[in-house]
Symmetry: C2
Subunit: 422 residues, 2 copies
């Protein structure tokens, strides 16, 4: 690779809101999205909430000339909704389904049935290895009483870990998607601190779009006031994040987002706003590990966010155990009732009522059993993430101590030199 | 690192058969295992089927001096059963839970409840990065009619992909565990071909143990004839696999396995045999990618095994869809019956019977609904793996074509040179 090597990467990201039968004007929007992507010819188009595989196939056919390679990430019962269209050949594919993703009995929220995941596509562009990740985390249905907070934090950690462990030989890392988290939310900070990813909106000098980079705005025809909850002017939950690993430097030249309308005005493409980023990758002299440059103080934000996440997961574990215990009690009561019904059925008087109540009671015991098992699994999953965080915290503290000792030794050495000079 | 660098690694692997209340002499075996591990002081002890976290805590306490670092991989409802004890500090931890792992209604087999997984521990040993993986795949309950074959092949692929993507910067890769596959089984070949891992038993010059390296033998007090099925003399399903990635060379100096007794004779430690390997890592001159050395013919075994796995997964998908369709029909019949019962309940004659049958019928519809959703998810998961295999097959074929073209060009060039010389 030449030392003056430079690569321009045009990236498109959109949560397409493509729920069959439920999302308004879905087919028309998919058609217009295809036309727009064909016209703009991005390097990569990363889409979320393409729930129907037919929609993916429709887009694949429509975009086959401008984007010869494409991939749909299948997962869960419905699907992950994630897909990518690419101008460049996809070299490798892998996906990771999040261990925790809501509750199956919250059918009206539906996230559990989707099998939310993170997908990774590896590209080789002019000798450079690009790892492009796409994801969609669990939705936040209530800011005030967010019962999914622990799950979202766990997902953010799994996402961060997946990126950390699979990108060790990548030159450039790109993550696009709907994180369902505001920029300063715990999961978002955890993700950025552990992976070192930069936020295109915060980094770019040239942003065109809504104030504060909002990606869900009341001006959008498909967005109701209810969707925005306590943030009537808008929220930023869709992101383009990136980093260059070593020997390379990456910057966001421009970031554009739609502003409640389609890219050329008219009806919007989705209830979310589209993000369009132009990234520039260049050669850069090898840099030291930033934590060593910044010294022990550089590790403090990570340690602080790890601690906060650890506490939040602890609350989630307590909640999961409470539900498991509650379901356990229901099973106990149900079994007692079954014994009682058997006794009643043996007598003449209440035989009919006892037989009538027998099956619903068996259903109650089985249902409570399923709830018990689910919450036991939830508690175990949260405990697992908490243990991983605990381990990283331990290693970070050790590194901090070592770094402090090294700085102290350096300082003492310098003082010694000065004393000798004098 | 010095050019004459050399590292000796002593590794222990055992499927501990630690099912609380069911496995014979569990507590005594755990105690003896702890004593043995303390006595031998391996670098790494990788254990499977430690189902009870209490057993792990017991061993952790017992081994705290010889193995200061340890990790238990929590997963599923029961747990993954995987844990590792290490003489060296664990730098990083991550785990991946397999998407497909049997059926929840096969309660007597129980694999679904365990959340089978692969765990990764990263070590830094004398400046060398060691990725140590531990896993336990779905059991094979019947060789003749293996209903879990597609799941095990999918697990082997997920394992291979996880290793492939997370070990790109590792110097040495080690995989230990109970793969529940014979050496020439499809999943085992897929794993070895895609990751390039070598089998310690096949590579070592110094093996002490049972003929054919069997790790479940009839001589073991805890093994019944039924466990071995059509292989009365034994089976090899536990492995130590390894590879050095670049700049390093790894070899297995010795491999020892127990032979149906404890390590110092007496009662065995488990129903599986323990594996003890001494690996030696040395500096090595940088080697070319073996596929380029071997030319297009070198890719043929991988292409062949990818094709075979693709076909096997296709059969699994057809089976999953058949079950989903069957459950769909049951739902249809159940709903029709519910309508019929409503009509009957409205009439005088059969009201009581109708009311009595209402709840079991609702149960039937709900149960069939759960089965339908489960098999839809199964089909989606298998399709996902099949698509990934298809993608790799495509890339491999392209590489083969390119390699053939390059060889042809080289041949033509040589012929041209000779003609010029003449």
């Amino acid at each position: 690779m030449k030392p003056n090597f430079s690569l321009r990467l045009r990236v498109f990201n959109l949560n397409c809101w493509g729920i069959p039968y439920l999302s308004k004007h879905r087919c028309d929007r998919m058609k217009r999205l295809g036309d727009f992507l064909n016209m703009e010819s991005f390097d990569l188009a990363l889409l979320e909430e393409v729930w129907s595989e037919q929609d993916f196939q429709f887009l694949r056919q429509k975009l086959s000339f401008s984007y010869p390679d494409a991939h749909y990430f299948r997962s869960g019962i419905i699907g992950s909704g994630l897909c990518v269209f690419s101008k460049h050949p996809i070299q490798e594919i892998i996906q990771h389904v999040y261990t925790l993703n809501g509750y199956p009995y919250m059918i009206h929220h539906g996230d559990w049935f989707c099998g939310k995941a993170v997908g990774l596509l590896v590209f080789h562009l002019s000798g450079l290895v690009l790892n492009a990740y796409i994801t969609h985390l669990h939705a936040e249905y209530s800011r005030q009483k967010d019962i999914y907070l622990a799950h979202r934090v766990a997902q953010a950690w799994e996402l961060a870990q997946f990126i950390h462990h699979t990108s060790k030989k990548a030159d450039v890392v790109l993550l696009c998607g709907d994180l369902n988290m505001h920029p300063k939310d715990l999961g978002c900070c955890l993700l950025k601190e552990w992976t070192g990813l930069h936020d295109a909106y915060l980094e770019t000098q040239d942003f065109k779009g809504f104030e504060e980079g909002y990606t869900m705005v009341p001006e959008n025809y498909y967005v109701s006031r209810q969707d925005l909850g306590p943030f009537p002017s808008g929220i930023r939950i869709d992101y383009v994040l990136y980093k260059a690993v070593s020997g390379f430097y990456i910057s966001c030249k421009t970031l554009k987002s739609t502003t409640g309308h389609g890219p050329y005005n008219g009806t919007p493409l989705s209830d979310h706003e589209a993000l369009m980023a132009t990234l520039c990758v260049r050669h850069s002299p090898l840099q030291q590990n930033p934590s060593f440059i910044h010294g022990p103080a550089g590790r403090l934000p990570l340690i602080s966010v790890l601690r906060e996440a650890w506490t939040e997961l602890g609350l989630g574990i307590a909640q999961a155990r409470w539900w498991a215990a509650f379901a356990g009690n229901v099973i106990g009561v149900g079994l007692l009732l079954l014994v009682l019904l058997c006794v009643l059925a043996a007598e003449e008087g209440a035989r009919e009522v006892a037989i009538l109540l027998w099956t619903p009671n068996v259903g109650l015991v089985l249902g409570a059993g399923a709830v018990y098992l689910f919450h036991m699994q939830e508690a175990k999953g949260l405990c697992r993430v908490q243990t991983e965080l605990q381990h990283v915290l331990g290693r970070e503290r050790e590194a901090q101590d070592l770094s402090s000792e090294a700085q102290l030794a350096l300082l003492l050495g310098q003082m010694g030199d000065r004393a000798e000079d004098q």
